[in-house]
Amino acid sequence: MAPASAADEMKRSLDHQSIRGKLTRIILISCGIAVVSACVIFAAYDIRVTRQSRLRTVATLAEITGTNSIAALSFRDEQSGREILRSLRADKQLTHAALYTPEGKVLAVYSRDPQATVFAPPSTETDGADFVAGKIVAFHNIELNGKPAGTIYLESDLSMIVMREEGLAAMIGFGLFVSLLLAALVGSRMQSSISEPILELARTAFAIAVDKNYSVRMVSKSEDEIGFLYEQFNSMLARIQDRDRELEQGRTELEQRVAERTAYLKALVETSPMGIVTTDPQGRVQVCNTAFEHLFQYVRDEIAGTDLDSLIAPPELSEEAADFTRRSDAGESIQKVTKRRRKDGSMVDVELYGTPMHVGNEHAGGLIIYHDISERKQTEEALLSAKETAEEANRAKSEFLANMSHEIRTPMNGILGMTQLTLETPLTGEQREYLGMVKSSADSLLTLLNDILDFSKIEAGKFDLDLSPFALRETMGEALKALGHLAHRKGLELAWQVDTAVPEWLVGDSGRLRQILVNLVMNAIKFTEHGEVVVSVNAESRTSDNVELHFSVRDTGIGILPEKQRLIFAAFTQADNSTTRKYGGTGLGLSISQALVKMMDGGISVESEPRKGSIFHFTARLSIPESSFIPPPAIEPDALRGLPALVVDDNQTNRLILTQLLSQWGLVPEQAASGSEALELLANTRRSSAPFRLALIDADMPEMDGFALAERIKKTAEASAPSMFMLSSTMQSGDITRSREAGLAGFLTKPVQPSELLDAILGAMSKTGRIPSVAEDVQSPRQVSSTGGGMRILLAEDNLVNRQLATRLLEKRGYTVLIAKNGVEAVAAVEHEEIDLVLMDVQMPEMDGLEAIRSIRATEKVSGRHLPIVSLTAHVMKGDREKCIEAGADDYIPKPIQAPSLFAAIERMSIPKCDDEPSMSTDIPSDSLNTAELLEQVQGDRELLAEIVQLFESGLPAILQGLRESIARGDAPEIARIAHTLRGSVGNFGRRGAYRAVEQMEKLAKEGDIAETAKALVAVESELESLLAALESFRTPAAEAVVAEKTAIQ
């Protein structure tokens, strides 16, 4: 520790000294260490040698003296012993000596200084000489002839040795002194050769540091490391000089470039057309450009350092300006259109961009750019006012349109209703024709009007869907029924098909769904000259509570060019403007459909190939009613008979039309011209036995409008309130909701289509349970047939769609269906299979239906049995029916195949089997014609009915003639055949009096009872006469029928 710290101390002290001192010290210390260590080693060696020598001397003395003492010892001669010892006086260092006998007894003693101390010789020890306690002690055993003769003891001090050591120390000290002196002398001379150049270097460096004069150079005197140091120092100076020069040059260039760049930036800011200003972090103006000066009319010198906000932010916008500053300071960039104040106090519209400015990482304030937008602002204002004007005009137009449509509807209502009524009065053919044209024109106008209204409502977003449960197949059947006739008139086949996966009951706006379908099918029919139109419905995806239906309408028409396909859904366009004239239409149908489909969460699209046809697809998401939902049982219009009803409308025409309609359906209507009158009537009848069950209320009435009235009725009558329908010529957004909230049974738009009204009334009545449903007390045909399953029906039909449709319908009803794809197959099937009934399509390849029927009937002449055959034909043309009957068919039904007519036909054919069933006869009025039933059979197509009636009437004389002749001839089979044919014909008009009479006659003829047959003929003739009288009203379409009904009811 100590030496280390000493060395450290030394080093530290060296560090603080001049190089000269350092060198001197190093030399002296090194020299001193060398000399001292050499002397010490030498002295140590010398002392050691001296001591060893002395030791040996003492030992030798002991031995010599001992030997000399042998005799004295042998003969114990103390005297001579002492004398011998005394001889040791020659050695001055020997202090004591002693002789011992072999027994250890002291024989003689010697002391150098007899006076000094009494010497007590120590006891004898073994041989040897050694240093003990600062002296040398030696024992020597003396032997004589191998026998111990005694022992000698010598004791010597070290005085000589000590003297010698002292002498050595003095010599070393002297030597050290001398050598250091010499070293210092020589060293001080020699060290200057090292320290001097270094000192010079230091002095030069100091001088350069002070003077900054890098041109100084050192002159090297030696070629050692110091010489090298000088060279390097010089080259370093040279480099520094070069660097200085370069820096100088670089700085000059840089300054120049900075100046250029600054000028450029300045120009950039200056020439900017936008007003630019920068502020310091305190918001004071620092720099601005000319555009800023011009914009705010300030000169930059006068505003530098003033607060920007207080300078140009108007007092009313100071809050906003402060907010901008705050946000900008927070690091946000701001863009804002606002106003700022000029020097003269005027305001200017500016678009302001503010952003915090950072120089390096320092927030240096803000950069604000002002763009004078006063011109743009003016333009914008002009545009805005123009837009407002335009919107105002548009609004006015919309209102006008809404008002107008209402205004148009009211007279339309009148025209349509009154035309309808007029047509039901006796008219000349010419008048009827003209009125028919009036009606059809009015219908077209109404359709157009409805389209435009729907469209404007959709445009205005005022369109609501009326969601309620409906039966999809039934709805489609009804919608396509009327279109079917349209198609047939063009010679087209219209078929439709609903996949079995599609639920029967759905919740949605059935009216709008029907509208879309009708629109697409109408278009298809319109643009198709030959072929067919097929509607199919599939369930695309289905969840527990809703189903996405995919509808497609395929035609074989003219098709649409690819480039037009996208356009057709746009409003007011048609695929080809040139077609407009040819095909007519508003061009709104598809865009309305598209909007409706969109509202049903679906999409509409088209694929088409020109001249091949088009397929329109659309999807709609409809809810599935909860499982607890029980569909209302169907109600026959008959069930409405005798129900008291109330018509409330301020418009007399409307009242008249509605009253007539209700009367037609067997209701007993009363009229009220206002709300108060209606309330009065209701109050009067409430306590009577026949309270009103139904009320049709006009929505738009003076004093008390329809909704108010409905609420009053609801309030006063409570549970006994009639089912109320609101009729309005304009449906406003929310009307449906409002109706529902008011507890109304329905909301209908005027002019009301009779079928629409009837459906609505029937629906409401069955829901409320006010009238007994058919299912409860009348055996419905559906129930009869579904229990009467197992009947084997041969379906001969080449068209796959129709075949599938019919098969599905039949199988659903419990019939067993056999298939024949053409006449040949059909004839073969009849021969080999047990078949109860044949449905025969007329137009089939290989062997057509008529030929097949003939072939079947020919074999039957042999077998004697009669297989009921119903022919199916799309050609409901004059003569078709005759051809079928002539060929031997018992009945025929028109295509597209409609479930009700199909089943009716089958049931008609199967009735002979259960002829005697009393239940059937009980509900058949014997003497009257059931108009409703008749219309049902022809699906309400009065035209068709008229045709049938005419056919029947014209064919009747020949038949009767044939019967009479056959009876006269007594040809019973012929009578039976003719009677059978007649029965089929009469059956079309219901199985009432005439039918039963003919049936009876046929039966008698088959029994061969000619006489009874003749009597029966009389009954037949009289029944036919009354039937013809009843059918008189149907001979011409519509009007006469209404009249006939009227008389019947009254």
Partner: protein, 170 residues
């Protein structure tokens, strides 16, 4: 000094001295070589009445001198003793002392006696009793006649006498 009545302690010392004398005396080699019977032995003879008894045997026997084995021989007459290297002449022979010494003159026998005139009569070593100490006289002339070399260290301890006979004889 006739009629000496000496203590055993003194005889003990004298017995030991007898042995030491042999150690400090050098017999001539040649003489010894011809001495028959002695060879490697060194014979210590006691003539006359033996004053030492067993003390002499104890001091001499077992302590060889220059590889010569010490032997003790006792006899009443000189003839009985045979060859002697060291001969102690007892005081009992005082009367015949001179004759014996003359007889032994020029023989290589170290004669030792205790009578007062032994050395004067030509004996080589004569014990002299001084108190409890024993000193001795050495007649160097007699030793010279006998051809014996007596070592200086012994001589330094003894009182050296001359009988002058040497002049006479020599």
């Amino acid at each position: 000094m006739p009629g000496r009545a000496q203590s055993p302690a003194i005889y003990r010392l004298e017995a030991e001295d007898m042995h030491h004398f042999a150690e400090f005396v050098e017999w001539p080699r040649s003489a010894n070589a011809v001495t028959k019977g002695t060879g490697d032995n060194i014979n210590f003879c006691v003539l006359g009445q033996d004053p030492f008894g067993v003390l002499l045997d104890a001091s001499i026997l077992g302590h060889p001198i220059d590889d010569r084995r010490p032997v003790v021989v006792r006899g009443k007459r000189l003839e009985d003793l045979g060859v002697c290297d060291v001969l102690f002449v007892s005081s009992s022979e005082t009367k015949r002392q001179l004759k014996i010494l003359n007889q032994l003159s020029h023989t290589r026998v170290l004669t030792v006696g205790e009578t007062g005139d032994f050395a004067a009569n030509g004996g080589i070593i004569q014990f002299v009793q001084e108190g409890d100490r024993v000193n001795f006289l050495i007649n160097v002339d007699a030793a010279g006649r006998a051809g014996l070399k007596i070592r200086a260290s012994l001589l330094a301890l003894a009182q050296v006498v001359h009988d002058g006979a040497g002049k006479r004889g020599g």
